[in-house]
Amino acid sequence: MAEWIIALITMGGYLVFAFILGMMAGKGRSFFSISEYAVAERGLGLVIM
């Protein structure tokens, strides 16, 4: 397999993982709440901010 395709698959794998993580973060949260959308209900922590 060409090296550039391996690179593409690797980067693509990371993109999929980042996408899933980003989408899962909002699962189960109120969709129409400004407090949720803008400031995560003011509840973020040291690592996740």
């Binding site: 993580l21 959308y37 003011r42």
Partner: protein, 436 residues
């Protein structure tokens, strides 16, 4: 927080500056160490005020303190325009990384669309939580890749950092110094570049808004621990220095391409390695792009639209913000792919506008005499002066002072002078704000 702050600049602009400007690139380390310090004072105060008075954006605080819709709309518009500039930088970075790491097989527009497109979707869907959670993965990846690549290149090309810097100092006198012959930056330009970055750092609305996402203790802890993550920048600069005297400038289209060039020419043709490094560099760009995109959407919705239409329901406001992610993203993507400016110059240009918020923000928090007339006038003059020196004078300023600082000087003078000339229209409201 580290993931949000370190961007495409970290993997492209940073090495590019080290390679082309030598010691001038140390300004990055300086402002990184100092940039979040003001947040130790402002952040907890904003967290407390935000929870008590229902703030979601910088504009909410300014509207409450100054009782001025005009000021907030101006801040919102300047913010969105500066965000677009900053986003363009990140998207260009993503496009470049994708293209280089796939050995020119993936066109710029495709790479940018893939990597930024997912950011738009998860930010529009998950809001600030989407940005925050993905930043953890991205921050960790950036850190590991930067140190891995940085150390590998330094030891492979030079035998270690000591040998590398000794060789550079011998071959290029002045390159590792500021303000001397052979240096790429004067002392004044260097110092004021740091100053504008430090003053303007936490004035970026997407960073300012972090004040409302956490408690006071968490904010203080973040400020104290953040410089540890900033250690990530050391190998980034090493990468650029490692190429000095090894890679001729004529081999590069621009100095921002030095890292991709080193990877594709000095690491051996290994697709998995390109992929991992590419992922790390993409992570750097995306971790900033998601926070910036989110911040821009809140600025547009809360600081531009809402003051003009205060009767909008909460549901409508949120829909506007979520759709704003798509619109702002599309505009930034277009400008990134079909526009052209050097990466670091773009960022410094955006900082020059954002730093103009500092007088009215600090004044709102700590000066009971601050008045909306002074804030508006100072902001307009500051932004005007900054753009005059950047666009008309092409960066040429008296004493080589950074254009943003020139604007800030004019801004502060006007802000203070006009505030002192104006009476407060609601002294009790100002007292109540400061009592909170």
């Amino acid at each position: 927080m580290g993931g949000t702050i370190f961007s495409a600049f970290a993997f492209l602009g940073g090495p590019g500056w080290a390679y082309s400007r030598g010691a001038a690139s140390f300004y990055i380390l300086a402002y990184t160490a100092l940039g979040l310090l003001p947040w130790y004072l402002i952040g907890p105060r904003m967290a407390k005020l935000g929870a008590a008075r229902g703030y979601f954006s910088m504009g909410d605080m300014l509207r409450d303190r100054y009782q001025s819709r005009t000021l907030v709309v101006i801040v919102g518009i300047v913010s969105v325009l500066a965000f677009i500039q900053y986003l363009t930088l990140q998207i260009k970075g993503m496009a470049y990384i994708f293209n280089i790491m796939t050995l020119d097989h993936i066109p710029f527009w495709v790479g940018a669309l893939l990597s930024y497109g997912i950011v738009v979707i998860y930010v529009a869907t998950s809001g600030v939580r989407g940005a925050a959670w993905s930043d953890i993965l991205q921050g960790a990846l950036m850190f590991v890749v930067a140190w891995g690549v940085g150390l590998y290149l330094v030891y492979t090309l030079h035998g270690g950092p000591g040998d590398m810097f000794a060789k550079i100092a011998a071959d290029r006198p002045g390159f590792l110094e500021i303000g001397h012959g052979g240096s790429k930056m004067s002392e004044m330009a260097y110092s004021t570049a740091i100053l504008v970055s430090v003053v303007g750092f936490i004035m970026w609305p997407h960073l300012f808004m972090k004040s409302y996402t956490a408690e006071e203790k968490t904010i203080k802890l973040t400020v104290l621990t953040y410089p540890l993550f900033a250690i990530f920048l050391v190998p980034v600069l090493f990468i650029g220095f490692a190429a000095v005297g090894v890679i001729p400038p004529a081999d590069l289209k621009s100095s921002d391409g030095i890292l991709p060039y080193l990877i594709t020419n000095n690491l051996g043709a290994q697709g998995i390695l390109y992929g991992i490094i590419g992922a790390g560099a993409l992570a750097a760009a995306q971790s900033s792009a998601d926070a910036i995109t989110h911040g821009a959407s809140v600025s547009l919705g809360r600081d531009v639209v809402y003051p003009l239409k205060p009767d909008l329901s909460e549901r409508t406001q949120v829909l506007i913000m979520r759709w704003a992610v798509v619109v702002i993203g599309a505009v930034s993507y277009y400008l990134a792919i079909w526009g052209a400016t050097g990466l670091v110059q773009l960022l410094l240009g955006a900082y020059g506008s954002i730093v103009q918020f500092a007088p009215c923000v600090y004044g709102a928090i700590w000066w009971r005499g601050a008045r909306k007339e002074g804030a508006i006038a100072g902001l307009v003059v500051g932004v005007g002066v900054n753009f005059w020196y950047q666009l008309v004078q092409k960066g040429v300023t008296p004493l080589d002072i950074n254009p943003g600082i020139m604007g800030l000087i004019a801004n502060v003078i006007i802000f203070v002078a006009i505030s002192l000339m104006c009476q407060s229209r609601d002294e009790e409201h100002v007292r109540a704000f400061h009592r909170t």
